[in-house]
């Protein structure tokens, strides 16, 4: 055997001396062995969504932006349903049938039924993103849809259908391009306010033609002016007023694409991170009374590590380095890393993506949607990223970069390091489309988190988590009473022996999307949570002892947990 090996080695050496061979896969970092497995369940799930964007020779900027997904339990049966946003025809107010937004109601087993018409889910203009939140605290989660023309819609959930209440709510359109949005309770008064990120002042009247090597390509936002974001304050009674100036967020404009809303400094109020495309990102710190100050640059979370603007597309928070402080992770353009701003000291960040194993493979993709989720229930959060280039002719300008790209899955190894396991984590991650929006939830109630991806000009993908070696779990449906009902802004701390797991219910993350508000906790090999503390926003902490694993619990503020089976019955 040794001799044969020697012969082969010599021949290989000899050939390499005179033949132009390619050292393929020497740098392949995406196929590391893993237990994580995701299957493509799109065909069997009942989700038959096709994204319909505009495509013109003009290569208008909105054509390439894609759209988002919102996951929420719209019918209160304990199972996460899905709204998928479609785009349509730029310049046309009404959508064609094929460009409709879609509502898919889940039976708790991951089988969805299209209830778009029954629920009267409308969609106007060129659709972009979605946010969910129970703005009127009636127990039914409502929906907010953004679009390119800025004619955003607030849809009230009556329990059986959506009613467009935009006009009566006071939320006004000003014709500016809105992207991601998120409900949050900025002043902890128990009702949900609304943040709307906005992009640039592109219109079909002022398009810039951009070329690379004499070939027209889709432009970046640097050719346009940034549009200021908005905050709509909930005044009660279903009314909102524009509080953008009062809250201070108009002090700095950016090319806003994505939002993460959470308590980044753990001071009991909700802060906002805005991922701005080719512009400084913003970290708006809340003073507790609903006034914000952007500290991103001084805190080290606005730019690349060398101080340059990046093409930021998506964002999420997670404690990546296990120091009990939330870190900020931002997806960026091709050849830029997915920036991991580690919060090393209170509100001081350092970019560490290369040192923790994310940087190399991230640079090989153009990244949009992003979500941290515990894919194997081992107690730490893994990372899923939706990828796809913005230049539909990029293959003509590069031998190695593609328009359609596979999505990325990074496994958290538990010691602050991540490994890209995309190529070995199942067929779902082999799907090559131009991915944009992304959100996660346990769709089929098997105790493992699944995901949905929106693809620009393609089908939506439902991926089921089929990881065989998995830990125990607990899934919590929390409902506020004094706090907002969803309850966005709540923080959960679970003690399991010596271990501690912290999670927040975030009003927004990813790109144009929002994930399930239910709190999924991976227990590893533990059979129970010894002590669960819920920090309700604006309320007293609630402690629950000895919560048995492997179950879904409904917990109303100040009440005992009630186990439930998702999709079985409506919970009043």
């Amino acid at each position: 055997m040794r001799y044969k090996f020697f012969i082969l080695a010599m021949i290989a050496l000899c050939f390499s001396a005179c033949v132009d061979s390619k050292n393929q896969n020497a740098h392949n970092q995406t196929g590391k062995a893993t237990n994580l497995k995701f299957s493509d369940a799109t065909k069997t799930s009942g989700v038959n969504f096709q994204h319909t964007p505009t495509r013109t020779e003009n290569k208008w900027l909105p054509e390439i932006m894609g759209s988002g997904a919102a996951i929420a339990d719209f019918n209160r049966d304990g199972a996460p349903d899905i709204v998928l946003v479609n785009s349509g025809a730029i310049g046309t107010k009404e959508r064609s049938t094929e460009a409709k937004n879609r509502l898919y109601i889940n039976n708790g087993k991951g089988i969805f039924t299209d209830k778009t018409d029954e629920w009267n889910l409308t969609g106007k203009g060129y659709g972009q993103g979605a946010a969910v939140g129970d703005f009127d605290n009636d127990g039914w989660t409502d929906l907010f849809l953004t679009n390119f023309e800025g004619d955003n819609r607030l849809l009230k959930n009556t329990g059986a259908k959506f009613e467009d209440v935009t006009e009566s709510s006071g939320i006004k359109a000003d014709g500016r391009w809105a992207t991601s949005a998120g409900f949050f309770d900025m002043d902890a008064d128990g009702d949900l306010d609304l943040y709307v990120a906005r992009y640039v002042d592109f219109t079909t009247e002022n398009p810039h033609k951009v070329y690379r090597n004499k070939m027209q390509i889709y432009s970046t936002p640097i050719y346009y002016n940034a549009v200021a974001d908005q905050i709509w304050r909930n005044d009660g009674g279903g009314k909102f007023s524009d509080a953008s100036e009062q809250t201070g967020i108009t002090a700095r404009k950016g090319n806003g694409l994505a939002l993460a809303i959470g308590d980044i400094d753990l001071d009991g109020d909700e802060d906002i991170y805005v991922a701005n495309d080719s512009d400084a990102n913003q970290l708006w710190i809340n003073d507790g009374a609903g006034k914000f100050k952007d500290i991103a640059q001084l805190a080290g979370s606005a730019y690349s590590e060398t101080g340059t603007e990046e093409g930021s597309m998506g964002v999420d928070f997670s404690d990546v380095d296990n120091n009990s402080r939330l870190d900020i992770v931002v997806t960026n353009f091709q050849a830029e890393s997915t920036a991991v701003y580690s919060q090393t000291d209170a509100l001081l960040f350092r970019e560490i993506s290369d040192a923790i194993g994310i940087g190399q493979t991230a640079r090989a993709r153009l990244k949009f949607g992003i979500d941290f989720f515990d894919a194997d229930n081992d107690g730490d959060e893994d990372l899923i990223v939706a990828n796809g280039h913005i230049e539909d002719n990029v293959e003509q300008n590069s031998e190695s970069v593609r328009f359609a790209q596979p999505n990325s899955l990074y496994e958290n190894t538990g010691n602050g390091k991540f490994v890209d396991v995309s190529e070995s984590a199942g067929e779902a991650l082999k799907n090559m489309q131009v991915s944009r929006g992304l959100a996660t939830a346990d769709f089929n109630s098997d105790g493992l988190l699944d995901y949905v991806v929106l693809n620009n000009g393609g089908t939506a993908q439902i991926a089921f988590n089929e990881t065989a070696t998995k830990g125990n779990f607990i899934n919590l449906w929390l409902e506020g009473e004094k706090s907002n009902r969803n309850p966005i802004g709540a923080r959960v701390v679970a003690k399991i022996g010596e271990r501690k797991i912290e999670r927040q219910i975030m009003g927004a993350q990813s790109y144009l999307s929002v994930s399930d508000f239910r709190v999924h906790l991976g227990l590893s090999d533990a059979q129970k949570i010894d002590e669960l503390t819920i920090f309700w926003l604006g309320g007293e902490p609630q402690t629950i002892k000895n919560l048995e694993g492997g179950k879904f619990y409904y917990i109303k503020q100040s009440s005992e947990p009630i186990p439930f089976i998702p999709g079985e019955k409506q919970i009043k």
Partner: protein, 344 residues
């Protein structure tokens, strides 16, 4: 019945001796085979060089493409396809490989650049090949490979500034700050003498990470002396002063960072506008729309920086005026082009 132990040993020895003989034959045949292959490859390379030297079309096309690349002009998809075709025909010709590599760099196709240089056997790579491969690995964030490549070269010649500097970058990006600092410190005088901004800023960033704000400030101020348009230095100075609670200075440097980034975006926008105008001019020229050519050439001329570009624009003006029968304007344009030509 089992065989006595000593007998087994003797039998084995016999077998081993026979095996060694067989192995010797294998080695010999393999070496002969390899030598034959190597010679045939050398012959093939010589044959290829000879064919290329006689292929006037390929040579002139490579010259044309090289001209495009060295003058910073666009390399279109068709141009690139042309280089690829020639490379298929002449894979071992250095001249062809250099132009192909430049085209890949022009397209920022770093994966392909790495593959191209990796295909050269390590023993045959030049110093420039190794430097380029190391820089490409840095671009691709393939830091482990970069360190594996550069470390032996840096250790071989401890005075080699370039390899040691590249090694320092690899360690820095992997968060191995002490090793990066040690390497940079050992070349600090050279770094300062040669005004190497990247190395200076990297050293400053390490001091910042280590919370040695006094040294970090000193380094970034030095960096600003060398280049005032230095976003990294302004960004870090603002972060240093913010960390120290000096809000006024932090805000000053924050504003400078924003100003520089805005300026950079504005410059990109201006460059893109110019490119768009040039394409429009070429389109008008092809369509024989001479009035439009004159209009666009006059718009571009005030912003044209390079003499070559100005000469080309005056030539467009000359030809267009001539085509429209405006002799005086045509001659004026020609005179301007000639003046610029003489100044070159």
């Amino acid at each position: 019945m089992s065989e006595p132990i000593f007998n087994r040993g003797i039998t084995r020895n016999k077998t081993n001796r026979f095996n060694r003989f067989r192995v010797g034959l294998y080695y010999l045949s393999v070496l002969l085979f390899c030598q034959t292959l190597f010679i045939s490859c050398q012959n093939a390379a010589q044959h290829e060089a000879s064919l290329y030297s006689q292929d006037a079309n390929a040579k002139s096309e490579i010259m044309r493409l090289n001209q495009l690349l060295t003058t910073g002009q666009s390399v279109t998809a068709a141009d690139f396809e042309s280089i690829k075709q020639i490379r298929v025909k002449y894979p071992n010709t250095a001249e062809v490989r250099v132009v192909y590599q430049s085209a890949l760099i022009n397209r920022s196709d770093w994966e392909s650049v790495a593959e191209l240089i990796e295909a050269i056997p390590a023993s045959q790579r030049t110093r420039d090949d190794n430097l380029n491969l190391a820089k490409t690995y840095l671009k691709l964030a393939r830091y482990q490979e970069e360190i594996a490549l550069v470390k032996p070269l840096a250790e071989k010649d401890k005075k080699d500034f370039e390899f040691n500097s590249l090694l320092a970058f690899g360690h820095f990006f992997l968060g191995q700050d002490d090793e990066a600092a040690r390497l940079l410190d050992s070349f600090w005088e050279t770094i300062i003498q040669n005004r190497r901004l990247d190395e200076i800023n990297t050293r400053g960033m390490i001091y910042f990470r280590q919370k040695n704000y006094a040294k970090a400030t000193e380094i970034f101020e030095k960096s600003l002396e060398i280049n005032t348009n230095n976003t990294t230095a302004y960004n870090y100075l603002s972060r240093i002063y913010a960390a120290q609670g000096n809000e006024e200075k932090a805000e000053f440097y924050r504003a400078k960072t924003v100003e520089l980034n805005d300026k950079s975006a504005a410059d990109s926008l201006e460059a893109s506008r110019r490119v768009q105008q040039i394409y429009a001019l070429e389109t008008a020229w092809k369509a024989k729309n001479y009035s439009e050519v004159i209009n666009l050439a006059k718009q571009i001329l005030p912003t044209a920086v390079e003499k070559d570009q100005k000469i080309v624009l005056y030539q467009y003006l000359f030809e267009s005026y001539k085509a429209l029968g405006n002799e005086k304007e045509a001659n004026d344009a020609l005179t301007e082009a000639q003046k610029l030509q003489q100044q070159k």
